[in-house]
Point group: C2
């Protein structure tokens, strides 16, 4: 392979603010960024539209959306009895960097995607191999990290180790894969400030979970856990969120 002036990186982009800033971090670090999003059933189109806006505004060289029919594994038919259903984490947004919806306790939500980051990183690894990229960026951060096993540093290290033996590229001398999570220890306030520094237009991003508001397109409710987490981050950073809220 030829040496690339700008080494390539695959960036997981959901349309949320965390992955938008992660994409900007990848570009600031000198990478040619290839944005990757997933359509897996629970999406409202507005999220993937936001991902496309974020990828374009963030200077991604390409943006691909992979359909993943994980709904085939969901539903009440999945297990024989509720007593055998293991405990699983709470609802999570699509964004690998997305807020963890800390207030959303209760039953397993229909949007829960088991082993989500493992699946997303596996697909990203496949694209990276095809592109000759050796870096995968994802926007997990401290908020996720506190709750989800697959947002922890030891998970990211284990995936790097796997990638090293999983691919033809990874077995080449000096060609190991790197999983980069530049926001791993960042709070929402840190991320809002970093967006300002990097010139990321957070007005292009979409965070809100509210399905009715999502159906109205490009507006955020300001009340759901994801909105509240985002707004609290902006407030803590002393910044104004450029997104339009139904309930400001």
């Amino acid at each position: 392979m030829t040496t690339q002036a700008h080494p390539r990186a695959v960036c997981l982009v959901s349309g949320g603010m965390d992955s938008a800033v992660t994409l900007a971090e990848a570009r600031a670090a000198g990478f040619e960024a290839f944005a990757l999003s997933f359509r897996y059933g629970q999406h409202h189109a507005v999220e993937l539209e936001a991902a496309a806006r974020v990828a374009a505004a963030g200077g991604a060289a390409d943006h691909r959306i992979v359909g993943l029919d994980l709904a085939a594994l969901g539903g009440s038919a999945l297990v024989d009895g509720p007593d055998e259903r293991p405990e699983v984490p709470k609802d999570r947004s699509f964004d690998p960097a997305g807020p963890a919806a800390p207030g959303d306790e209760g039953a397993i939500p229909s949007t829960y995607v088991p082993a989500r980051n493992t699946v997303f990183l596996a697909v990203a690894l496949g694209w990276a191999e095809t592109l000759g990229a050796r870096h995968i960026f994802l926007g997990v951060n401290a908020v996720d990290y506190s709750g989800y096993p697959d947002c922890r540093p030891e998970f990211l290290a284990a995936f790097e180790a796997l990638a090293g033996v999983a691919t033809a590229a990874g077995t080449e001398e000096g060609a190991r894969f790197h999983v980069e999570a530049p926001l791993l220890h960042a709070s929402k306030a840190d991320i809002a400030r970093r967006a300002l520094e990097l010139g990321v237009d957070l007005g292009l991003t979409h965070t809100c979970y509210d399905p009715e508001v999502q159906a109205a397109r490009s507006l955020a409710c300001g009340r759901c856990d994801a909105c509240r987490l985002r707004l609290a981050g902006f407030a803590e950073a002393g910044l104004v969120d450029p997104v339009d809220y139904v309930t400001p």
Copy 2:
């Protein structure tokens, strides 16, 4: 979680003979088997029909087919120039246990799926977590093992390590995940013999790559690399392949 009389296992089932025997091995080892197949663009329906037959005949408790639109990552638009395209392995059948098509040299085939076993295992891990299963069976074997990085024992070990930190279940005491590849060191002849011992009807399986023959449904060409590999295995084992061949 309650203790299960028959512990659950997720088994990757493609419809080929290797995964059919792997499913039987899982059942023989006392597992309640949950069969998992993938539809990802390059399939002819006949393969997934074979997978459904194999799962039913093999006594799987359930069979799910996950759609995976990896075609979004393929195609010539993927890279800017051919000089930057990394070397990738040769064509591979859908079956994680499938033959490696050793004679199929040349250009990158449209059916190539980068990091395939990583993606399949990641989805299997998600389903396993939901089911409370701690074992994932896949049919990789010595033929694949010689050619593909993601069929090697060190890959399987690295995935087990990843699974241990990727899931809520994996972080529980004594709840580690196991990746089982009972045919890892088996030749095609070994697999044909083992099928006989376990009572697996290999007449239900589908191996042939030939698209015209596939289009004719349930017949095998007897000439493609996959068919030749399979037939050589039966011949070496002194057994007759029950599948109908166009060219016997």
